[in-house]
């Protein structure tokens, strides 16, 4: 009954494993020790980051944004155990796969997802959740009701698709308009570099973001434009 941990991915901060845990397909995110840090500092930084990530995930759920369910937060083993979506596709791969089939119906589906992304990002921001790493790799499509439709067409059946936001490793809670502007700018840059064959994608997403709610929108737009003019980091010159 010893768990078979299968390594899925290794990043700069953490390793991702998949396994079956408590009878469910589970993703384990393990933040490894950084030997260049003092051990006490390393433990406390890791603990804070784990808390932070888990906090944002739960907060999203309360806000009505779909995120993985949390099964265990384990500070000792430096791990978060969460729901693994076995049958999913990243929005990134979905868009890349679209290229082979350029009919109008598929383009409409992309618009539906762009609107969904815009609304979802807005929902997070209205609840002061800043994702910190909004890219199409951190967005998954899953089926609401599992179907037997073939892999290449099932993701086009948008009425049965839900959007899941993942990887809250860089997320934080903040009320400032500045952080929301930066979050949007990060998304725009990610879209430009990953999906330059769909140049209107960001503006479609941004329109949906704006129309989801009118609250504070003028401030956010103008802040986003400031950020865009100067880049992500505030200049510290002078």
């Amino acid at each position: 009954m010893s768990a078979e941990l299968k390594i899925l991915k290794q990043g700069a901060e953490a390793k991702l494993y998949i396994c079956n845990y408590l009878g469910k397909p589970t993703l384990i995110k393990e933040r490894f020790k950084k030997n260049y840090r003092h051990p006490d500092l390393d433990t406390s930084i890791t603990k804070e980051r784990i808390k932070n990530e888990a906090r944002s995930i739960v907060r999203c759920k309360t806000a009505g944004v779909k995120t993985p369910a949390l099964y265990l937060v384990d500070f000792e083993r430096r791990r978060i155990y969460m729901e693994h979506f076995e049958h999913s596709i990243t929005v990134k791969d979905f868009i890349i796969n679209l290229k082979s089939t350029t009919n109008q119906g598929d383009m409409n589906t992309l618009d539906v997802y762009a609107d969904l992304i815009g609304g979802t990002v807005r929902k997070m921001h209205e609840n002061n959740i800043i994702h910190g790493d909004l890219t199409t790799s951190n967005m998954l499509l899953i089926e609401k009701d599992p179907s037997n439709i073939a892999e290449n067409t099932k993701w086009l059946n948008h009425s049965n698709i839900e959007l899941v936001i993942i990887d809250f490793g860089l997320s934080f809670i903040d009320t400032s308009v500045e952080d929301k502007g930066v979050d949007l700018y990060v998304l725009e840059r990610a879209l430009i570099s990953t999906h330059n064959d769909y140049p209107n994608l960001f503006s479609r997403i941004f329109e949906a973001y704006k129309s989801y709610s009118k609250k504070n929108i003028k401030e956010i737009i103008s802040k986003y434009e400031d950020v865009r003019a100067r880049g992500r980091k505030r200049t510290m010159v002078g």
Binding site: S2, G23, A54, V58, K61, T62, L70, Y71, L72, E162
Partner: protein
């Protein structure tokens, strides 16, 4: 008619080598006696109100944290059985947690055993219960959604998010998130 009265079972964290087994009973006539046996520690099991449980996975998540805390000696309560009840609730108040999820005058009960290899006391305890065993699949007829929603503060929840998903996520973060 043959009814399926197999317990719910779930292997907990592999490091603990422990298995959870849960039995559901209704029309229990000796609840006070059961309660006393639990309180004085002579019964090695947790007994829960089924009305606050939407799915057995909810119990598995709480039990899993309890056995891990026992192993790492970081339990908040005195025993792994009370720890299970404590983990089900969102409050850090121990007595409130135990009275909320434990049984009082309820005549339906869930009996949970944490079995690690050789010590399985379940059959000895179960034969002391004067009630009718029910299939785990009938759990939802005991669930009181209104109580679940108020206990887990889900009243102004936007619909689409799955209930079980948010309940377990809140449970496992209660030590550092104010729900």
């Amino acid at each position: 008619m043959v009814t399926n009265t197999e317990p719910y079972t779930c292997n907990l964290d592999p490091d603990t080598k422990t298995r959870l087994e849960v039995y559901l009973y209704k029309d229990v006539k000796n609840v006070e006696n059961i309660r006393q046996n639990i309180i004085n520690g002579s019964w090695k099991c947790s007994v829960i109100k089924p009305s606050l449980i939407v799915n057995m996975f909810q119990v598995a998540v709480a039990a899993n944290r309890a056995v891990l805390a026992e192993k790492s000696q970081t339990m908040i309560t005195k025993t792994v059985y009370s720890e299970l009840l404590y983990n089900l609730s969102l409050t850090k108040n121990i007595s409130q947690s135990l009275s909320k999820f434990g049984i009082e005058k309820d005549d339906s009960i869930l009996v949970c055993f944490l079995i690690d290899g050789n010590n399985d006391v379940s059959q000895e305890i179960l034969k002391e219960i004067d009630g009718e065993q029910c299939p785990i699949s009938s759990l939802n007829s005991f669930t009181n959604m209104k109580d679940v929603k108020s206990t887990y503060k889900l009243n102004n929840l936007k619909s689409e998010v799955c209930l079980l998903d948010i309940i377990v996520s809140k449970m496992v973060t209660k030590s550092f998130v104010n729900h």
